[in-house]
Amino acid sequence: MAQLLDPVALSRLANLELRARSVVEGALSGMHRSPHHGSSVEFAEHKEYSAGDEIKHIDWKAYGKFDKYYVKQFEQDTEMRAYLLLDCSASMGYQGAGVSKLDYARMLAASLAYLLLKQQDQVGMVAFGEKLRGYLPPRARSGHLNDLLTALDGVRAEGRTDLPRAIAYLSEVVQKRALVVVFSDLLGTQNDVRHLLRGLRARKHDVVVFHLLDKDELTLPFEGTTIFESMEDDQKLVADPSDVRKAYLAEMAAFIDGYRTGLSEGDCEYHLVDTATPPADVLLRFLTGAYRARNRGRRT
């Protein structure tokens, strides 16, 4: 199982649904809960029976103790809409020793969709590059997962990034409160992205950002004089990585820290994801993270 949770091992599974299910099961087992024995409703408190309450919710053990009818109160079910924003720019196609960032994002998005749909939530998807590449409105029907997985399978890493445009589009189409999950390397984006995401949050949407970076991008492990070529334009740089490593790592740390701080200050949830990390771990981190805490009254 552990081997299956490795991103490279998962990528070998041809079926995205299977991959998503493996990830979700892995994540939930990390939470010591099984999706097969769990309930979609959770006990909250007892309440004295009154006319109109469901008889099946009467707690007979409590009646035996107190000689009064008590009805079990459960957490209230809420219909939730989730939008998965998937960055499909060329930079997401970078693949170091493991899987490409886009593949990883696909896997993570599929897992999340699987989990949400399983909870009867509505899941939509926006794939974007420089332009909008695809949009699936949120649905909760059983066949929607297949649509999502098909759409995810269909995206290719190419072109530049324009996350602000995607956010702007989303702002137009999302009317009710929703969960907005961004999968991007955030490379080539401007600082105003943070403002836009914080703007979404201000409009009561829950915003979660999965900042996907490859191990190579985090450590610059290369040796020898290298011609670095941009993946989104024609920029080139000849450099000896050992010469610039220290300065690059500082730049990278500042880049990450800028997003982490900026988004946290805007009450957005930020997850830095090294694509060498098992997706289940990332999902688990998300499930036990701030979003979960904030929505304790909800079923996710």
Binding site: T225, F228, Y248
Partner: protein, 709 residues
């Protein structure tokens, strides 16, 4: 620059390899797609300049390091003007002559010349071939030879060189070269060399050729000053003379300052010290390469402690320069108490010229000068009893009819000096009875050999002619030593004696006859009794029996006799000694132990057979300039200062002159002995050690640069 293994030099072209690798590596850089290129570019911008410099440095270091390896293997060297002779290598018999004289204490570039000479000598010995024997000789006067025979023990030679210490001695290069030549006579190698390491000042060469023509060793003269003479200034002479116009205690001190530099000296301060205290200071202008004299006048105070003579130290000094040893010069001044002389006039006359003691008084107070240092009192025999003889140093008894033998004997026994002159009033028997053993020899009769004054007055002439003359003069007698030269002797022999006393034979041991008549009869007899001395003059001190009083020799004879009887020095003080000069310290009877304190405060004691029963103590440890003080102890063992024996040692004035010997003279001295000088020596400076060090530094630098990435 030359190379011992030039074949390796070609490999230094390999320095191009790292450059080629750099260029090739750059062209073969692998392209790599990278998503975070924007961050990378920002990073590169930040470090580009630093990186570029480091890369160029690295490239340069690598190129140089690669070039250095074959260069080190090629063993490069250059030939430079050398402080070592080219011919120093190879098997040889060599004598290293190191000049340790006073002038080698001069500082050049903050280092004494001798230290540089030691270093040079050590390097010469190190550079000598393996099968070499060597000796070491010092070039100061009396400096000796630390390694007096040729030895293959290199360590011993190096130790001896390291132990050479600066001295205040004068230079004697000729002597040292002679000794070196003697040592090399036993040389086992045909190649015989003398390495002379010196400032080569002209004063060190006597002008004599040190070895026989055609048989001398090769002389390699090494000028430790590299031809630049030291700009020295020095006190080259210090004279003290009586200054009569200031009284008997006034002295004139003349300080002669030499300027051996090429710049004139203006307002040079000269300080005069007496007994260690500065008493006067004067300014002096000394032209370049010239001398000037500064004169001081000083009056010494009379101290109660100056029982007989006051001995004072005088020193003149300049502000220190490159050679401090010659910036001070010392002198010793004796200031005497006036000698008190009592003249007993046995035949006083109203006419002064006819008076018995007229000539004597005149001789004791020549010109009645203040500086005669003799205080003369004349009395008649009747007045003698009223006088306390102990108040006088010397008593002249002149033609006294009946002397008081008891008083005079007591006086002599306690150290008095008695001069007995005869005359017509003297009766031999009466004198023998009255004076007894006080007389050095009993009187027998008066002999007349010519016309006496009374005869001349009567107009009579005796057949015997002009009279007797003096015959033998004992020039070894301390009293007559100053009269020892031919001119003085001639003046004494010009005197004629018409009448003189003859003496009975005597077996007295303590008796000496400094003067005799031509017939062998004693003219002046000396004896000692107790602490005192007696001189018996066989004639008169006026012109009654002799014409000596009107001869030029009379005055010095009377003065010397007076001083001798008073135990005053018989001659002028000896001139100051120079360093390493032998000195005889006069001893007194009964001295058992003598201690000499050197200027540095170090004391040397002498006793037993070096002192007891001797008249003088030979002292050779005059190895530093300054005042040497003497103390002596007798039977009681109490050490008492002997001020009159204090002596002064100065550095040789010639040592102050750094003028180097000219090359021609040096060549003549050496070539005269059939040898040659190693002119304009050159040395090989091997560079590969330095290159090796540079290579190491380059490699270390490269490693550090790589590490700092």
């Amino acid at each position: 620059m030359s190379f011992l293994a030039p074949g390796f030099v070609a490999f230094s072209l390999l320095f191009a390899v790292p450059i080629a690798i750099h260029l090739i590596g750059r062209s073969r850089a692998r392209p790599r797609k990278f998503a975070a290129i924007e961050l990378l570019m920002r990073s590169d911008k930040r470090v580009a300049r630093r990186t570029k410099i480091r890369q160029w440095l690295l490239l340069l270091m690598r190129a140089l390091a690669i070039a250095a390896v074959p260069l080190v293997l090629a063993k490069p060297f250059i030939e430079a003007a050398s402080d070592l002779p080219v011919a120093v290598g190879g098997a040889q018999s060599a004598v290293v002559v190191i000049d340790d004289s006073s002038s080698m204490s001069a500082e050049r570039r903050g280092q004494p010349l001798l230290e540089a000479a030691r270093g040079r000598a050590r390097r010469i010995v190190e550079a000598m071939g393996a099968d070499t024997d060597a000796a070491v000789v010092l070039a100061s006067r009396g400096g000796g030879a630390p390694v007096p025979q040729l030895t293959a023990d290199r360590a011993r030679v190096e130790r001896a060189i390291a132990d050479v210490r600066p001295t205040y001695r004068a230079t004697d290069i000729t002597g040292a070269l002679k000794r070196a030549a003697q040592i090399l006579e036993t040389a086992s190698h045909p190649d015989r060399r003398v390495y002379l390491i010196s400032d080569l000042a002209a004063h060190g060469f006597s002008g004599e050729v040190p070895w026989a023509a055609g048989r001398g060793p090769q002389l390699v003269a090494i000028d430790i000053t590299d031809g630049s003479a030291v700009a020295n200034r020095a006190i080259v002479d210090l004279k003290t003379e009586p200054a009569a116009h200031l009284g008997p205690r006034g002295v004139r001190v003349s300080v002669e300052v030499g300027n051996f530099g090429s710049e004139p000296l203006k307002d040079l301060a000269v300080t005069l010290r007496v007994d260690g205290k500065p008493v006067a200071k004067g300014l002096l202008d000394v032209p370049a390469k010239a001398r000037a004299v500064k004169r001081f006048f000083h009056v010494f105070e009379h101290k109660a402690s100056d029982a007989e003579i006051g001995v004072h130290d005088v020193a003149a000094e300049l502000a220190g320069d490159v050679l401090p040893a010659d910036d001070r010069r010392f002198a010793r001044v004796e200031v005497r108490r006036d000698l008190r002389v009592l003249v007993v006039d046995g035949d006083p006359r109203t006419s002064r010229r006819d008076d018995e003691v007229f000539y004597l008084e005149t001789a004791l107070r020549p010109g009645d000068r203040d500086d005669s240092q003799l205080d003369v009192t004349t009395v008649s025999p009747d007045e003698l009893s009223a006088r306390r003889l102990a108040d006088f140093d010397v008593v002249f008894l002149c033609n006294v009819k009946t002397p008081d033998g008891a008083a005079l004997r007591d006086y002599v026994l306690h150290g008095g000096g008695l001069f007995i002159a005869l005359g017509d009033n003297v009766d031999a028997d009466v004198y023998d009875d009255a004076l007894g053993n006080l007389l050095p020899q009993p009187l027998q009769a008066i002999r007349t050999v010519g016309a006496t004054a009374s005869d001349r007055d009567d107009g009579e002439r005796r057949a015997a002619g002009d009279g007797q003359r003096l015959g033998r003069i004992d020039r070894n007698h301390p009293m007559l030593a100053p009269l020892g030269d031919a001119k003085a002797a001639e003046a004494l022999e010009a005197a004629r004696f018409s009448r003189y006393a003859l003496f009975k034979p005597s077996a007295e041991a303590e008796r000496a006859v400094p003067l005799r008549f031509a017939d062998g009869a004693p003219a002046l007899i000396e004896s000692r009794m107790g602490e005192g001395r007696v001189l018996l003059w066989a004639s008169t001190v006026d012109r009654d029996w002799t014409n000596l009083p009107i001869q030029p020799a009379f005055l010095p004879l009377v003065q010397q006799a007076t001083r001798y009887l008073a135990r005053a020095p018989m001659r002028e003080p000896e001139p100051p000694l120079v360093v390493a000069q032998h000195h005889d310290i006069p001893l007194r009877e009964g001295d058992l132990r003598v201690e000499v304190t050197q200027p540095s405060g170090r004391s040397r004691s002498f006793e037993r057979d070096k002192v007891a029963g001797r008249k003088a103590l030979g002292f050779d440890a005059t190895d530093e300039p300054g005042i040497y003080r003497v103390a002596a102890a007798g039977k009681d063992g109490v050490m008492r200062p002997r001020r009159e024996a204090t002596f002064v040692v100065n550095v040789e004035a010639a040592e102050s002159d750094p003028t180097p010997i000219d090359h021609e003279t040096l060549q003549r001295l050496a070539v005269g002995g059939g040898a040659k000088t190693a002119a304009a020596p050159r040395r090989r400076v091997e560079l590969w050690h330095s290159l090796g060090a540079i290579l190491l530094v380059l490699l270390l630098g490269e490693a550090l640069l790589l590490r700092r990435k």
